[in-house]
């Protein structure tokens, strides 16, 4: 049993009366588990006792657990409270989950990004549950005049076995609330987990399937107006003039004006990215009226020249970003990337003597991989509610970085931080797009100007053409084989617009004696940001497709080829900076080999394999493709995953399935191109996302049994499957695919 120091401060004893009197019935839909039945409804307590910021217990034993982090579909609203409930030792069917308020003094890292919610929340969530359980045990010991060490708990009941006494949490909670918060608490042994590791359905499931107002776009408040913005039609352009004479007189229109999201002298945070700081705003009564008035605006735009942005990186270092002027084109991007790839890059890592290895090689394999810009395309477009008065700013909606954007809004409005109230709503997807909250600042400025509550709504076109894309990438790989087909040298040179996707210290670094990793980048005025598994979302597929060709050239089985390299990396690693655990990467490969019955492939099944490590988790895939009517169709994908302890298997499996489909879809179909600075795809009629008919027929997910602290799953399943997909396509069609989206190369998927 581990002991952990608590970091929950001594709080005022808080008790609040029941939400709306003692008799309020709460529908079972709030709860996880089974199908709804009216008789399962929970009765609300007469009194709540808050034992710490994460939880409160009612006098009837009902428990409310706060989910601290933004919910973007990664299911933390269920899995994070499960961790608290485990250490509290309560019956999950008596748990109500609520989205926590933004409070960085109580909660740790209220951010959805980097697949870190579970990993970085793990200790504090356990501590919150264990602290409350300890207080309940101490209260029982005090009440019964027995040693606290003799008090045990089970499913919301306190027991004193020697005397046979017992009490429910509801009966003991008022006494527990008077107990001093302990300095340190004991955590459960993993083997005693009753909730962690068991499947619990989405706590919002019933609300989702009945269409309840959960999302930011569903939020409304009395007197609320609708706002929309007009931004330049192309990157490299800014507003020149506005003629709103016609629009202004249209029905339902309240006001039309311009805003400056970030003034020129504003010091941006990393999440303040926008290419379009000067916007035209239309405010009116209803969405349709505002949309129509916006169409009637006569706007003139002009090109701008080079400029600099003062910014602070995620790691806190100050930087000045030079943004080039001009209207960019995808054809030029491709040329620039090919030119830069042909020149020496910045050497990021070198082991041994790669130049000599390539010189003496019997065989050299060289391949180039590319991928386009991608738009995040969350199904719920960007939006935010704001009500700004002289006293405070209330903001409600979907944001992955509330604790950062609170600072941006405060700085921009000139209000102290404590006057900014950001409330998190369930988010219709994130994928990194909602890390960048310019739309909160826009909404706040609009509300301040019109002195009314407003909801800023982006259309799909606004959303898709506003920027903050996944960068365009390019990677050159070279492998040197000796006469016996041993891999004696490995060279990667990767770059992108405007940043490189290289991870120089990931596999196969550490596994090859002579290794060289170089990178380069080219500036752009097209704004970019993190997109589900940043950089990995491209480089994994490129690397894993390349290794497949190297394995083939060596005459080796592609799984055994990787395992042999990983054996070297585990037992006799090259270099010291390797950023992955070779044994865990080998572990997922071995598991996927077993689960897919790799050795006994079927004659009409074309298989490809891949494995990758990112965001602290390990995933290996086997993709099976069948040819139907001469067209490839993904029949099945096997996913083997090592993310440490699996908190909620049903949700973890769902997330792996989703990441797999998402990876396949983007590799096959998606891409954003530019002509004269303007995105060529502005809605789903041209920007293609994977659909039901194109999804794998089956996905088989297996987890490596583990006692290691859990890591995340939002991102890790996305990157590797792209490699297995292209390797399977090669087996099916005899052709290697180097340029994403692969469909561009005229594969006609069934």
């Amino acid at each position: 049993m581990a002991t952990i120091k608590t970091s929950i401060g001594r709080r005022e004893f808080l008790k609040s009366s029941a939400l709306a009197g003692g008799g309020l019935m709460l529908s079972f839909s709030w709860l996880a588990g089974c199908l709804p039945k009216e008789k399962d409804a929970l009765t609300m307590p007469k009194e709540w006792f808050e034992l710490n910021g994460y939880l409160k217990i009612g006098d009837n034993g009902v428990v409310t657990i706060m989910s601290p982090n933004p919910e973007i579909g990664q299911n933390v609203k269920t899995s994070m409270p499960m961790i608290v409930a485990e250490e509290l030792d309560v019956d999950w069917k008596n748990v109500i989950v609520e989205q926590a308020p933004l409070n960085t003094t109580v909660f740790t890292r209220q951010l959805a990004g980097g697949s870190q919610s579970i990993r970085q929340g793990w200790k504090s969530l356990r501590m919150a549950g264990a602290t409350a359980r300890t207080m309940l045990r101490e209260a029982a010991a005090k009440t019964w005049h027995v040693p606290v060490g003799e008090i045990t708990t089970e499913a919301s009941v306190l027991h004193h076995k020697p005397s046979g006494k017992s009490a429910t949490y509801g009966e003991m909670v008022s006494a527990a609330a008077k107990i001093e918060v302990p300095k340190e608490v004991e955590l459960k042994n993993n083997s005693d987990f009753k909730i962690i590791g068991t499947s619990r359905n989405n706590v919002d499931g019933k609300k989702i399937v009945t269409g309840q107002p959960l999302f930011g776009l569903d939020y409304r408040k009395e007197g609320m107006l609708i706002a929309m913005i007009a931004h330049p039609p192309a990157f490299g352009m800014k507003l020149k003039s506005v003629d709103d004479s016609q629009a202004r007189s249209m029905p339902g229109i309240k006001d039309i004006f311009t805003i400056q999201t970030f003034p020129d002298d504003y010091a941006q945070q990393w999440c303040d990215v926008t290419s379009f700081p000067s916007l035209v705003v239309v405010v009116g009564n209803t969405t349709w009226e505002v949309m129509n008035a916006r169409k009637a605006l006569k706007l003139e735009w002009e090109n701008f020249g080079d400029y600099n942005i003062a910014s602070t990186t995620f790691w806190g270092t100050k930087e000045s970003i030079k943004v080039p002027g001009g209207l960019e084109n995808s054809t030029q991007h491709s040329q620039v990337m090919a030119q830069l790839s042909a020149k020496p890059g910045t050497v990021v890592r070198q082991d041994g003597n790669p130049q000599a290895a390539f010189k003496k090689a019997a065989k050299v394999i060289e391949r180039t991989y590319t991928a386009p810009f991608l738009a995040h395309n969350t199904m719920e477009p960007m939006n935010f509610f704001a009500h700004v008065t002289d006293e405070k700013a209330e903001l409600v909606g979907p944001i992955q970085t509330p604790e950062y954007m609170e600072k941006s809004v405060a700085a921009r409005l000139g209000l102290p931080l404590e006057k900014i109230d950001i409330q998190m709503k369930r988010q219709g997807g994130g994928f990194g797009r909602r890390l960048y909250g310019h739309f909160l600042v826009e909404a706040a400025l609009i509300s301040q100007k019109v002195k009314a509550p407003i909801k800023l709504v982006y259309t799909r076109e606004d959303d898709m053409t506003f920027g903050i894309y996944r960068p365009a990438y390019h990677a050159l790989y070279r492998a040197a084989l000796d006469a016996d087909n041993n891999l004696i040298g490995f060279h990667v040179k990767a770059g992108g617009i405007p940043e490189s996707p290289l991870f120089a210290n990931r596999f196969p670094a550490g596994a090859v004696e002579n290794y060289l990793a170089e990178e380069w980048s080219a500036p752009s005025n097209i704004s970019i940001g993190a997109f589900r598994a940043p950089s990995s979302n491209f480089i994994a597929g490129a690397e894993q497709a390349f290794l497949d060709e190297v394995a083939e050239a060596s005459g080796k089985d592609p799984i055994q080829f990787r395992l042999d390299l990983l054996d070297r990396a585990a037992n006799n690693p090259v270099g010291e900076k390797n950023q992955y655990e070779a044994k865990r990467l080998a572990g997922v490969l071995e598991l996927v080999r077993e689960k897919s019955n790799w050795a006994q492939g079927q004659p009409d099944m074309h298989r490809g394999v891949s494995a990758y490590f990112c965001h602290d988790s390990y995933v290996a895939n086997v993709v099976d493709i069948v040819m139907e009517e001469n067209k490839p169709r993904v029949e099945k994908v096997y996913c083997a995953v090592d993310c440490g302890i699996v908190v909620n298997p049903i949700a973890a499996t769902n997330l792996v399935e989703g990441g797999t489909v998402d990876g396949i879809g983007h590799a096959l179909y998606s891409g954003l191109t530019f002509t004269n600075g303007a995105p060529d795809q502005t809605n789903f009629n041209k920007y293609r996302l994977i659909r039901q008919r194109e999804a794998p027929r089956a996905i088989d997910v297996s987890f490596v049994p583990s006692t290691v602290d859990p890591t995340g799953l939002g991102e890790p399943p996305f990157p590797p499957v792209i490699g297995a997909l292209s390797n399977a396509l090669y087996k099916a069609t005899g052709k290697r695919y180097y340029q994403q989206p692969f469909l561009r190369e005229e594969i006609n998927m069934l």
Partner: protein, 154 residues
């Protein structure tokens, strides 16, 4: 502006709007039925799917003036207690991730099963192909449609 009398979820509702206003925005802005979602505004993603006299229809591209006497059913009116077989199957399979597209998915599935209570895999794929799920829950959606078909046929 004109006045339209719509039958929404079995209830007559009057709205005074421009003739071209899409039913999606009538539902969301005027009738406060926000379960029907805005995704693309051009009938490409299916998030706004409703039933028009029982047929799955993209409400973002349906002008209010075209509705006439036809009955509108939204996700809020699919069942009285959230217990339509499709809703039950969705919960059983724990389909949603972010959940935003799921009302549209459910409305498409419910319309399919009303028409064809025993769809083949190919028929499910065809009927559900107009509904994009960016989270990629397609495998579960298909499984849930099959479970819903079983519940209906029980």
């Amino acid at each position: 502006m004109a006045t339209y009398t719509l039958t929404v979820n079995g209830k007559k509702q009057e709205v005074n709007v421009d003739a071209q206003t899409p039913v999606l925005w009538v539902l969301r802005d005027h009738l406060n039925l926000v379960g029907t979602k805005f995704g693309c505004g051009m009938a490409q993603c299916g998030a706004c799917t409703i039933h028009l006299d029982g047929t799955a229809t993209r409400s973002c591209s349906l002008p209010v003036s075209a509705v006439g006497e036809m009955e509108i059913t939204t996700i809020e009116g699919l069942s009285d207690h959230g217990d339509h077989p499709v809703q039950k199957a969705w919960l059983e399979h724990d389909v949603p991730q972010c959940g935003y597209c799921q009302a549209g998915q459910i409305m498409s599935a419910a319309a399919l099963l009303k028409e064809n209570p025993n769809p083949t895999d190919e028929q499910i794929e065809a009927a559900m192909n107009g509904n994009i799920c960016r989270c990629g829950t397609y495998v579960r959606i298909k499984a849930a449609v099959k479970t819903a078909a079983q519940l209906i046929n029980e």
